[in-house]
Symmetry: C2
Subunit: 427 residues, 2 copies
Amino acid sequence: MTKESDSPNAQIVAQEIESLAINEDHSETHDQKITPWEVEGAVVDGAQVAIDYTKLIQYFGTKEIDNELLTRFEKVTGEKPHMFMRRGIFFSHRDLHNILDRFEQKKPFYLYTGRGPSKGHMHLGHMLPFVFCKWLQDVFDVPLVIQLTDDEKFLFKNGLSLEDAYKFSLSTVREIAALGFKPEKTFIFSDLDYVGGPFYKNIIKISRSITGSTAKAVFGFTDTDCVGKVFYPCIQIAPAFSSSFPELFGGRKDIPCLIPCGIDQDPYFRLTRDISVKLGHPKPALIHSKFLPALQGSKSKMSSSLENTAIFTSDTQAQIKNKINRHAFSGGADTLELHRLHGGNPDIDVPYQYMEYFVDDDAFLKNLYDGYKRGEITTGEMKQHCIKVIQEFLAEFQKNENSVTEEDVKKFMDKSYPRHFPLFEKK
Amino acid sequence: MTKESDSPNAQIVAQEIESLAINEDHSETHDQKITPWEVEGAVVDGAQVAIDYTKLIQYFGTKEIDNELLTRFEKVTGEKPHMFMRRGIFFSHRDLHNILDRFEQKKPFYLYTGRGPSKGHMHLGHMLPFVFCKWLQDVFDVPLVIQLTDDEKFLFKNGLSLEDAYKFSLSTVREIAALGFKPEKTFIFSDLDYVGGPFYKNIIKISRSITGSTAKAVFGFTDTDCVGKVFYPCIQIAPAFSSSFPELFGGRKDIPCLIPCGIDQDPYFRLTRDISVKLGHPKPALIHSKFLPALQGSKSKMSSSLENTAIFTSDTQAQIKNKINRHAFSGGADTLELHRLHGGNPDIDVPYQYMEYFVDDDAFLKNLYDGYKRGEITTGEMKQHCIKVIQEFLAEFQKNENSVTEEDVKKFMDKSYPRHFPLFEKK
């Protein structure tokens, strides 16, 4: 997984290569590019536009999370859907109904997410799937496995040493732990550590089910890519099969999982669903999120390698304030007078959008939205709200992270640490 | 490794694909095919001819084991070169001089060989590299690592289950143990078991050093091959680096190895030698063997899947006798009268050739050779000698194999079993 982080690689799915090849140099219009390694809005007449998520649902063949599904979710779990679901941040899914069925029937399943650990600290976009996973785990009380794809990082990032990639995994565990996960419920593993045994056996089985042609078509690899890259998808597919974790699931291969992930990860799991059938595993269910926009706006996502596109978990209170004040794209009018007169556009206003990710209170958000539109709330005021929200969120996070011990990290990464779940108890 | 065993796959190196494509259907002449998965003599005017090993040395760019090297070997080790070396069965090498240098200088190195475990028992051709390795280990007293490539078998053999591939590994350990190896000196590992940790880390580093184009050029893969196959060479390359075995070599990466192998394995290790330099490991040295001919003659090698081409380690005394009497290609004249008159040709006589592999006594062999040429020794007599030699060899082997215990197998496969070597002792 290279969730919410950029890589220098320009891997694009086959169809997109084609459309690019057609358009290149002939026009300044091209389609949006969404792959596990690259996220970029379309370019129309030379101008980059926001990512079109509806188009992605059609293109990927996934399903929208609609009101009917939200209603059912609340009915089955007894919990109001998470704000990310209410607001269409997690906007798309595959087979989420099946997971709700199993929950209703008290049948076991598990959650799987992951992250490609990178240098330094996560940014806010990286935290999204974990915040959501934590909530899902609280609602369902099922196991969560978190794959740290340090092998992928090494394969896809030129110049990164394997030793550093592994070090990044360990610091990532600290950050994930700081979000409130419990080792009693959660298994976090580095591929470089955990590959072997039953996990490697599944990887090898998977690797026999994917031809070079398929890998090229799904991920856009070419013969200039190293063989590690072409093989890598097998590593990310393996955690979707419960038999990869005999310590957690007692060797059972019939336990399905739910994978909350960025929509850019869908190619991996589309392929996983095909392979599941061939290898006799249940298909994983998916729930897809949109990207946390870059400070510069919805045309791209936060990037670790571009300092001023992202707010990092390690940013100080002053840095958060400066970044939002200086770099956050505003939907306000050009002058205060015009803003008072015509109002602003919250739909493209980054400070407002960020609050959708971090403020649970729907009524408070609606007031901001309407007030901004009417010009009653200024750009400066919107930014102040956003700064306060993110400062509070990160202050809490940083306090937690400082209290995570070496011992805690080991517990998360101990495959045999005792873990218990109601759905997994024998009747 | 798929040493001395056939697979249904027709993988051929790129240049050979080309030459085949040119010749196909236009002529009944084509070049010999020697790849890790296929060994076949050239076809000239519709007739298959014996494998031309001199041509292979040129084609692969290896060095002949000449008299000068044999003399030096004896001088440095104090041992008469093994009959396989004296007789040009191990006929080719890369950097064997460097290994002799290290032995002279009392610097450590190790031996690496392997086998793709397959159903049932090994045949005599499978045993060759092990017999030779055992001797090399006795001469040098250095560690030997034996890789059982059950993952490769699974990837390259349609219809084989992973579970069976792994089972074959365990039975292979029994057979290898029966050749007299000691767990105190030898580490035997199944890829499916041992991949992980430092070994996986080396695999991943290697996998970043090989592009798809290189894998295609070296091994003849196409996009219809599964990604597992294209990745697989990384698994076979990793044991050539001492840091893959921290339990044996304390994490040192500067210890070179010597790889005795069939000449068909050279593509793997040619690639290994390129990669070694990039990754800062010493280049492995190689010593290459010819193939043990099929009972039908030197045009092909013994094949596990063609029962009557091979003598298996499990064959009874009667089976050995019948196979040689009925199927072994004879270099004798058409009738006894003609044989007495013109003599036979020991150079194409399979029973004679087999004895070159199993009889150490050069003088005895020379008598057979000359007597056969002069027509004094008949085809029937030559076969009787051969039958006796192989019956004795396998009777001894089978007795040993029966005495190998579960406990012995575990010791060989225990990476932490205590092992000591003079060259590795700290001064």
